[in-house]
Amino acid sequence: MPHLNRVAAGKGDLTDPKQRISEAEAIERAKQGDEAAFEILYQLHKRRVYSLCLRMVSNPSQAEDLAQEAFLQLFRKIGTFRGESAFSTWLHRMTVNVVLMQLRKKGLPSVSLEETLESDDEAPRKEFGADDVKLSGAIERMQLKRAIDKLPPGYKTVFVLHDVEGFEHNEIAQIVGCSIGNSKSQLHKARLKLRDYLKSMRAEKAKTG
């Protein structure tokens, strides 16, 4: 930068993209309080964390607060990270815990998946493929986001954790406190409901043009 005189010392400036450092090195520097190292870790993982929060709460402002809290909790504890698991896994789990804790504080039924079990009358329609509207071919991302936002909290939790974030059913069962079978069942119902929502959206668009 033309108007700055940089006195290079030690390992150099972490914010310089030409200075390549590994995530492990950034973690070690962050343990020493290096702001640039913290920022590198934030930049590496911010999209994953924020996307997870936004999918779960459907509110950008709330998602910002949750993402901020997840990173703060992580950075406060970074001194204890010993590398037994991947840093991203650690952050991922912490983010999920922050979000679920927030949902529990609000008293939303996503805490207990059993509460989202619907009666047979309310369950997603069992007939399928009977509509004239076809879904296969393409799904617009915005429509999918809006459909996910409409899901009941319990369905949304399992769908986001499994299909968006890639958690396995045994992990979901441990995180939210349900059985593996329940997790699979809720996921299937969530997908069926999303299919219905997406078909409805497509039918509505076809009508309005």
């Binding site: 006195v7 400036d13 924020y50 996910i148």
Partner: protein, 275 residues
């Protein structure tokens, strides 16, 4: 295996099952095959959402401020091996042009809220508003700003956007993990993929000028602002494309205004840092 059997077994079979009876039934039953294809399509698209959202720049600012207040981020002098940045005597730097550009961005976004039957026209409101911007003081040492703040590139037709951006690269490189997603079998998917590659336009002249000023004044923040701009411009283009196909969707128009507001806040944050 009957359709009822398939439905009951789907929670266990849908995720990549090679159960022979299940596969055999799908080959013979178009309804079940369509259901399974739809569900696989939803799953495949859902994976793309994992890193689809970009948090506003203020999130990092708030995190770093909090970490500093808690003493977790320490002063550079106490961290061994840190370079010392010695700023030259500050030259007079003026970001007078940022404010009207930010206003033009909001105006362009507000214009998008007006429902129109045809595709979006160039926002004359933004150009007229920008035309009333005060002209620079000839004695100022600032880099000359724009004479008229034109609407940001994100308001142009997506058809003119050039393929660029991390979002487009991610979408183009994502492997098709399911036959239902194969572009070869679904021309509309291939078309969508092409459109996706076009939805992350390069920075406009105003954005480039903005980034140059950020680089000169707060060099450490350039990368942050650059990625934020890329993300918000991509979101603007994607939403505009959606509105072109669904002009009656008021929710989408509202969303577009909100994204424009995000971009304005980005400019405003830089202004706050600079002044």
């Amino acid at each position: 295996m009957t359709c009822t059997d398939v439905q009951q077994a789907l929670p266990d079979l849908i995720d990549g099952s090679e159960d022979a009876e299940f596969q055999s039934h799908l080959k013979s039953c178009p309804l079940c095959a369509e259901l399974v294809a739809d569900l696989n399509l939803i799953v495949g698209e859902a994976r793309e959402l994992a890193e689809s959202e970009e948090p506003p720049a203020r999130v990092w600012v708030q995190i770093s401020n909090q970490l500093r207040s808690e003493g977790i981020i320490r002063d550079t002098e106490t961290v061994p091996g840190r370079p010392v940045l010695v700023p030259a005597p500050a030259r007079r730097w003026n970001a007078w042009w940022l404010a009207p550009v930010a206003a033009a961005v909001i105006a362009a976004g507000a214009y998008q809220l007006i429902p129109r039957k045809t595709a979006a026209e160039p926002p004359q409101v933004a150009q007229q508003q920008a035309g009333h911007v005060a002209q620079p003081d000839a004695n100022q040492q600032a880099t000359q700003g724009p004479e008229v703040a034109h609407p940001p590139q994100g308001t142009q037709s997506a058809a003119t956007a050039k393929p660029s951006g991390q979002l487009a690269q991610d979408r183009a490189s994502a492997p098709a993990s399911n036959p239902a997603q194969s572009a070869a079998g679904h021309p509309q998917l291939a078309g969508n993929a092409r459109i996706e590659r076009e939805i992350s336009p390069p920075p406009s002249a105003e954005d480039q000028r903005f980034l140059t000023q950020v680089s000169e004044r707060t060099p450490g923040m350039r990368t942050t602002y650059e990625s934020q701009l890329r993300a918000v411009n991509g979101e603007i283009s994607e939403t505009q494309l959606y509105i072109q196909r669904h002009p009656g969707d008021q929710d989408a128009r509202q969303h577009l205004l909100e994204v424009y507001q995000q971009k304005t806040m980005l400019y405003q944050m830089a202004l706050d840092h600079i002044q």
